[in-house]
Amino acid sequence: MIAKANTYTLIGLSGIPVSVEVDVNNGLPAFEIVGLADTAVKEAKERVRSAIKNSGKVMPTKRITANLAPADVKKEGSALDLALAVGLLKSSAQLVCDLEGVIFLGELSLDGSLRRINGVLPIIISAIEQGYKKFVLPKDNALEASFVSGATVYPAQSLNEVVEHLSGIKPISPLELRDYSSLTQNIVYDSDMSLVKGQAVAKRALEIAVAGGHNVLFVGAPGTGKTMLAKCLPTIMPDMTFEEALETTKIHSVCGYVKDTDGILYTRPFRSPHHTASTVSITGGGTHVKPGEISLAHNGVLFLDEMPEYNRATLEALRQPLEDGVITVSRASGTVTYPANVMLCGSMNPCPCGNLGSPDKVCTCTPAQITKYKSKISGPLLDRIDIQVEVDSVKYSELTEVQSAETSQTIRARVNKVRAIQRERFKDEKILTNSAMGERQIIKYCKLSQECESVLKSAYERLHLSPRARSRVIKVARTIADMAGSADIRPEHVLEAVSYRKY
């Protein structure tokens, strides 16, 4: 008898329905899996055999053929185990029930228990779009599905539980739908702006950067607190909306990074890959195209510490995703587009030895070394970093004079307001923040008075700003004006924007 069980496999972030057809025939005992299965799926037969035996069922000593349809889609991972086992049991008449309309996901352990799998959330979201409603999932992963409305999720711990549920002996109670907003109310971050002492300029620059969605680069000697400041970035960013959280969780789910206790990512991700990271690990790729760091940081912060130390090619690969907010990775096995809407935050020393411009230490670098160090970050990449701010250590004696600093929460409240202004301004455009403005939008939304123009002109002449810095300064000035609640950009806004430049 042929039995059919439904399951899913993932290509990128979209789930593809897979129908597992199992047939038990007479003949020499064998277990064949056909239908473009990868190694993990081929190995499933050993897991399924032991799991069935150790669950007190019988593995038929007959010729068993399992077909994974459609046969032209490459199936990967161990999530198909459960569907294979259930199909086999039904085909050998050890299970009598209707398997139609139920999606089975889960990896089997040899003792018959179910283990967690990667990519539950994107699969469920795709399956619901395609009309499926019932899911049987490993209990360890089930929380990921608990925020998706319209899904009836049965969390199971072993093959036996699944069998008893399907045959109606001991039905599993479906998972309750959880409310996202309850999670976001009491977010506790490890970092907080109030813990950063001094650094008023850098903090102000960070607030502007977050408010306008600008990428930011910290320039400063080692040990001045660049990393600490960067870690505060997510704490002042607006709370993630449910849609944003789902999108980000989908990507983390594919890599298996979602915490079992939460089931969803409700804080903005902060990814800081080491500078030895390969280009593929940042952009995404591999034989089975997996998301890279830039996608894992989607809706959050990608922090590149010691930016000039990164491979040049790796940095250049960031240019397109920074512009478009998505990254398309093409491999022989297929082309996948992952979202990559990140705020880039970089840090670097002023020169290789770190002492350039320091009043009390001597820089030992040659001019050629400094030029080489700075040229690691190319002009086109710098063009995408609107704010470059210097971070320098303040003496301890001066630190104690500083009054208690603002908390991240206070700053976040202000940021939310500025973001609202931008949403209103760009409601007819495809962009959300000031940083995303193109030349046409700059002309439309950033009208400069005569006075501003002359300030900008003299700043160019005196301070040797590069021509490409112009639109950056204007965009930042627009955000500063928004923060001040001013409809027009005034000279002081331009002047402040000018002070956040290094190159």
């Binding site: 001094g198 650094q199 008023a200 300029v201 903090k203 102000r204 400063g220 002023p350 411009g357 320091s358 009043p359 009390d360 001597v362 820089c363 001019p367 050629a368 030029t371 210097e390 971070v391 320098d392 303040v394 001066e398 004079e401 500083v402 300030v455 003299s458 700043a459 002449e461 005196r462 301070l463 040797h464 500063i480 001040a484 000279p491 002081e492 806004h493 002047l495 402040e496 000018v498 002070s499």
Partner: protein, 366 residues
């Protein structure tokens, strides 16, 4: 093509042998004065050359002792737009001629008239604090309307002085250590081209020569020799700028130096010069007064906020945060004011520390 006299032609020919040292060329100088051509010159100098530099070198010189090689040299100079100003030329600057070891030939590119003008040298080291650069620029800005500014072309003070002078539409001479084909540092090629266009570049070596470390201190004697006075904007105890000052002292030029605080390594050389008798200067006006040049000071209007910030900076450079605390203002109120002052050339930014780069009196702040 420029017309050179016979003696000049032979000198250009002789100077193309970089291996032949200055002292040898100088020893042969008398033979040059009234020779009719290369052959004639060699006839007279044969004994000296072969006895001092050896047969082997002599044979290479001998092999090039023909009209073709000379024509090649001249065409090469002409193609590159270089004029060889020899000691026989009327264009050769007299002040330089009066020094102890004047170059035999000044290879020049640009506006030759500048050689005859009143010159003032501003030099500094490559490793300069932003404040030193700003100060040097302030001097260049004021002095360039009265003098031709002479400097090198290195990064730091030298190139900043050139940029400022060109920006203020002043006259500038940049003396290079190596030949014009090999501008050092390479990244200043664009700046070099600008000087050629609007000022004058000089070198005592033929265009193909690469700059070697020993050429830099030797080059500084030209900077000092050309100028009436020399300003040392900054420099460590062991810095190339010292040579310029030493030559300045030696040639009886007016040496000026900017004072630095105790422990500022990049200014220790200046303080040392002041100890040894250089004129202390902390404002471009000092130099104008020294030469009795009258200038009507331009009055720049300052807003009350700007005055407030300037007076807060009177007792030394300060971190933005300290300024905020002192003036009881927010960062975003202070930063625009500092930017304005930076644009107007009153303060200089080094990281988030701002300091004055111009002499300010308390009256100006009230």
């Amino acid at each position: 093509m420029i017309k050179y006299s016979n003696a000049e032609l032979v000198l250009i020919w002789l100077d193309s042998f970089v291996g032949l040292e200055y002292k040898h060329k100088l020893a042969l100088f008398d033979n040059l004065k009234n020779c009719t051509g290369i052959k004639d010159f060699l006839q007279k100098s044969k004994d000296y050359i072969s006895s001092t530099i050896g047969e082997k070198e002599y044979s290479t010189i001998l092999a090039s002792a023909n009209q073709e090689y000379l024509t090649f040299l001249l065409e090469n100079l002409d193609k590159k737009g270089i004029i060889a100003v020899t000691q026989f030329s009327k264009d050769y600057p007299k002040r330089l001629m009066e020094t102890e070891i004047p170059p035999l030939i000044l290879y020049a590119k640009g506006n030759l008239e500048l050689l005859d003008s009143e010159c003032f040298a501003i030099v500094g080291s490559r490793k300069s604090l932003p404040s030193s650069i700003a100060i040097a620029k302030d001097y260049a800005k004021t002095l360039c309307s009265h003098f031709t500014i002479v400097t090198g072309i290195a990064e730091g003070v030298d190139s900043a002085v050139i940029e400022q002078t060109l920006f203020s539409e002043g006259r500038v001479i940049s003396v290079n250590a190596g030949g014009f084909d090999n501008v050092y540092p390479k990244r200043n090629q664009a700046l070099f081209d600008k000087v050629v266009e609007k000022g004058l570049v000089l070198s005592e070596y033929p265009p193909e020569t690469f700059a070697q470390p020993f050429m830099f201190p030797v080059r500084n004697r030209i900077i000092a020799g050309l100028s009436k006075g020399v300003l040392i904007a900054n420099g460590e105890i062991k810095s190339g700028t010292r040579y310029t000052a030493e030559y300045g002292f030696e040639y009886g030029k007016d040496v000026f130096a900017i004072p630095y605080g105790v422990g500022v390594a990049s200014g220790a050389g200046c303080n040392d010069l002041i100890k040894r008798g250089a004129n202390l200067t902390d404002s471009p006006k000092d130099i104008l007064d020294f030469y009795s040049v009258k200038e009507t000071p331009e009055r720049e209007e300052l807003s009350p906020e700007e005055k407030q910030v300037l007076s807060a900076l009177l007792d030394g450079e300060k971190h933005v945060e300290k300024l905020c605390l002192q003036l009881k203002k927010q960062t975003f109120e202070i930063l625009p004011v500092l930017s304005v002052l930076e644009i107007k050339g009153y303060v200089v930014k080094s990281g988030n520390v701002y300091g004055l780069c111009r002499k300010i009196t308390e009256e100006q702040c009230n």
